[in-house]
């Protein structure tokens, strides 16, 4: 077995892609599938990267992920990945471009720091879904935990069910569409962006206020919910930053344009 070493100098005995995927089809239509049941996290990601980058395959299915952590992270190219099962923490993070479909549930921090692409979760997600999301769509058909989209800087998070407390905490830009109920402290300390809630709101967070829905808002809601096949539990309400805490003495150029 070839042993390689990571950046910290630690041995990585499983640093080679296992090369077990079955590949079917020809040319750009090739599809790959592999069973992750007996693979380590490192091996799963190496196999995925081998297929996507070295083989150039744009359709990969991972079976039996077993709720392992940090699967399908750092994929920076357009491709379609189906994860047939559930993921643990930090799944699909730091991605830029792929469309990922998870048929099960995901743990904390799914799609954190996603730059672009689409992540669709068929069941529930844990806390911190879409943390620091930069772009793309994260769609969760089930419920999500606390602090959804914390520090979100762009993109759209769509939740078919309920969301926990502090949803949209420190939201900086981007949109959240929650079809169900949300817990206490909605939009606490949000800077910008918009949160749409179809169910009940337990309480608003600091500097979060309700706003009128515009025609553009209705268009956005209709379009996103149609794409992901979701619907609200009631009429949507919109929540934005009250800007009472905007005490900047040095504004970024983009913010300066908006404020001044």
């Amino acid at each position: 077995m070839k042993i390689s070493y990571d950046a910290r100098g630690l041995a990585e005995p499983d640093a080679q892609a296992p090369g077990i995927a079955k590949i079917e089809g020809e040319g750009p239509q090739r599809q790959a599938v592999f069973d992750a049941a007996n693979l380590s996290i490192r091996q799963i990601n190496l196999e995925l990267r081998r297929l996507v980058y070295a083989e150039g395959i744009t359709g990969v299915t991972i079976q039996n992920p077993g709720a392992k952590h940090s699967i399908a992270v750092g994929i920076l190219t357009r491709c379609r990945i189906t994860i047939d099962g559930s993921l643990g923490y930090f799944g699909c993070g730091l991605i830029d471009g792929p469309e990922i479909h998870v048929t099960g549930r995901v743990g904390w921090s799914v799609a954190e720091n996603m730059m672009s692409g689409v992540v669709v979760i068929d069941k529930n997600a844990g806390s911190l879904a879409g943390a620091a999301l930069r772009g793309g769509d994260l769609a969760v058909r089930g419920d999500v935990g606390a602090r959804t989209g914390i520090d979100q800087k762009g993109g759209t998070i769509i939740v078919g069910g309920n969301a926990g407390m502090m949803t949209g905490f420190m939201l900086q830009r981007g949109r959240q569409i929650i079809c169900g109920n949300v817990g206490g402290g909605l939009g606490d300390s949000m800077y910008d962006g918009a949160i749409y809630v179809g169910g009940k709101v337990a309480s608003l967070g600091v500097d979060c206020v309700e706003a009128e829905l515009t025609a553009d808002d209705h268009e956005l809601l209709e379009r996103k919910l149609r794409i992901y096949g979701m619907g609200p539990q009631g009429s949507f309400r919109k929540f934005v930053c009250g800007k009472k805490l905007w005490n900047y003495d040095s504004l970024e150029p983009a913010e300066r344009k908006l404020v001044l």
Partner: protein, 309 residues
Amino acid sequence: MCGIAGIIHRDGLGDIGSEMTRMLQSMKHRGPDSSGFALYGRPDDLFVMRIKLADPNEERDFGWGDRLERHRNEIEHRLAKIGAMVDVIHSDQEYAYRVTFRYSGDLKPLADYVEDVPGCEVLSLGHSLEIIKDLSDAESVAQRYDLAGFTGTHAIGHVRMATESDVDISGAHPYWAYPFSDIAVVHNGQLTNYHMWRRRLERKGHRFQSECDSEIIAVYLAQKMDDGLSLETAMKQSLDELDGVFTYLVVTADALGMAKDEMAAKPLVLFESPSLVALASEEVAIRAVIGHEIDTYDPYEREVLVWHR
């Protein structure tokens, strides 16, 4: 970080020793310092008491073994003196014992009298609860204490990454709710009003064997139940009276409960079916005991759930 896990068979017995071992071992990365089990076997008329007389990592002199033997004999003597009829004293390790006995008196004086023997700590006491905890990972502890064949109804466990107290058995979870029979707790988080509650409970006559904040929760809940509250009500009160970030699991002779604080900053994933409930800090632990595809969810903030067997 730490990892916690719980399992309850609602319709009979299960291999809870090996099940909890697999659950904890799958979360080894959350806490390599120690592993602990609170296992509920078949309820018996006899009391079962788990004790330790020393720590595995303490300094050993030439008289160490002889001293442990003397202390073990002293415990047997004291149990007889206080009116307990000892059935079996079994040694799992040279410093850890399982004692079964008949006894009809108050547990507090018995526990106090036994713990008065130098180095002795009662890890658990009850008719079905047995707490086994030691240094290293779950598989190693399970092997050393022969937990593979342990059958029972429910269990909780803990893998510990020591942050606020020593790496020793006293600092390892689960914690027995001294001096109350058959109650134990595992906890992931930090309590910020630990010293205040410790002083309050000490004024009520309770003793604490560790400097670990988690020990408070077990005694706090047991005291509430002794005051007449249900387990669920006591747990709900804990959400208001205990400060900090926490998710904890509690077990009694016939129930398993979970509570999550208002910040929901410590994870817990839950699987529930008519015959089995399994919950853990990470879903990999649940999947370690359930082979087929399952639906799971995260309990929300300020959530308290209790399942009875």
